[in-house]
């Protein structure tokens, strides 16, 4: 047992041996009694007038409360309100000041466009009104060209969709080249001492390949 274990054992032993005094016990009992008394206190219900007053104040606050802008209901003026406003505005228009301005505006001088302006306008309108030149050849060539183009496109598409032919040796290869190539390959196979593949078997330049097996020695 080390030093720390001994200390722990001493503390635990002292705790277990603790004996409360009678005075301490009395004090505890008194406090518990006081607590039970507090807990046993009767509920106090607020009077109805108090509640009514509270409700009134909350209602007043609800009236004062301003909802958020997004929650504001749309206010549409009634037709009658609108009609009244229109009538008032029309009445205002006929006031002396207003009618005076209206008369004044009617007497403003005219602004007639000059002849240059008019001739420019005429020219622009003439250009717009000019019917397009009839091009009879275009009527013939355009459909022809379109049909031709469509044909070319179709041919291209068809050829694209066909399976690509496998590249094959021409039926009539250059015989000299073919013979030379075959000979070189046969020599190579001979040098290596292996049998040439069957495709070259028809061209047996080495009629008796060397027997490299031990049995031949």
């Amino acid at each position: 047992m080390n030093e720390f274990e001994e200390t722990d054992k001493t503390i635990m032993g002292s705790l277990l041996e603790f004996e409360p005094s009678s005075e301490w016990r009395k004090q505890l009992d008194r406090e518990l009694q006081a607590i039970s008394l507090v807990v046993a206190l009767p509920e106090i219900e607020p009077p109805a007038s108090w509640r009514a007053s509270l409700d009134e104040r909350i209602a007043a606050l609800a009236h004062e409360a301003v909802p958020l802008a997004g929650q504001l209901p749309d206010i549409h003026p009634t037709a009658r309100w609108r009609g009244d406003l229109d009538a008032k505005l029309v009445a205002l228009h006929s006031e002396r000041k207003q009618s005076l301005i209206a008369r004044l505006l009617r007497r403003l001088p005219e602004d007639s466009p000059n002849l240059i302006w008019r001739s420019q306008l005429n020219e622009r309108v003439r250009v717009l009104a000019k019917p397009r030149k009839a091009r009879p050849f275009a009527n013939v060539f355009k459909p022809t060209a379109a049909v031709g183009l469509a044909g070319i496109l179709m041919a291209v598409v068809i050829f694209q969709m066909r399976p690509m032919p496998v590249a094959s040796v021409s039926a009539e290869p250059n015989v000299v080249d073919w013979m030379l190539e075959t000979h070189e390959q046969s020599v190579a196979y001979g040098d290596l001492g292996v049998t040439q593949p069957a495709e070259y078997s028809g061209v047996a330049f080495i009629e008796e390949p060397a027997d490299l097996s031990l049995g031949g020695i």
Binding site: L85, L89, V90, I101, L105, P109, D111
Partner: protein
């Protein structure tokens, strides 16, 4: 007293005549379209010029109005009057041009103070009736119009210059009727305020 600033007759084309003209214009008949331009060019030109206040722009836009009309005649369905339709084109083009050039002025600008200027209002010969006929007063009216916002000016010009009814203006500008009426009131009040020095005797 004879007015110096007379106006040409208001556009009151016979409906059947207008219908026939429209039909011919729809078929792009140059002669009919020429008559159409003859009928409306002064009104449109004046309106555009007062809206844009720039002579070159006004020339260009006024032509553009008729070009647009020529191109769009086949889409004119007769739901509105020809005049309303044409002024709607004119208004839209003016707004486009004002936005492009950012030439739309504020409600009032610094150089629009009617108190400024060289007007001798203490002149004993000053008479309201004569003032109305005075060309200088007219130029003051034009200047006051320039100071007005485009929204008020449009309604004012269409109602008081072009004799548009409230509902026609509402249709042309795509506005509620009440808005048209309130804008007209505000526009006239604005103009009166700017001309109060000269119109004091009459109001």
């Amino acid at each position: 007293m004879e007015l110096t600033f007379g106006r040409t007759a208001r556009i009151n084309m016979d409906p059947s005549l207008e219908q026939a003209l429209v039909e011919r214009c729809k078929r792009r008949d140059p002669e009919a379209f020429g008559r159409f331009v003859d009928t409306y060019q002064t009104r449109i030109y004046g309106y555009v010029k007062r809206m844009l206040r720039n002579s070159e722009d006004a020339d260009d836009v006024a032509q553009e109005v008729f070009i647009k009309a020529f191109q769009a005649f086949d889409r004119f369905d007769g739901r509105s009057s020809l005049r309303t339709w044409l002024f709607r084109i004119a208004h839209n083009l003016c707004i486009d041009r004002l936005r492009k050039g950012d030439r739309s002025l504020n409600e009032t600008s610094l150089d629009c103070d009617p108190e400024e200027g060289t007007w001798d209002i203490g002149d004993d010969r000053w008479q309201p009736e004569q003032m109305v006929l005075n060309s200088e007063l007219m130029s003051q009216v034009e200047a006051a119009l320039e100071c007005m916002s485009e929204k008020l000016r449009t309604v004012l010009l269409l109602h008081d210059r072009e004799d548009f009814a409230y509902d026609e203006i509402a249709q042309t500008l795509d506005l509620p009727l009440g808005t048209v009426k309130s804008r007209l009131f505000l526009a006239r009040t604005h103009l009166h305020k700017h001309l109060s020095i000269y119109l004091g005797g009459q109001s």
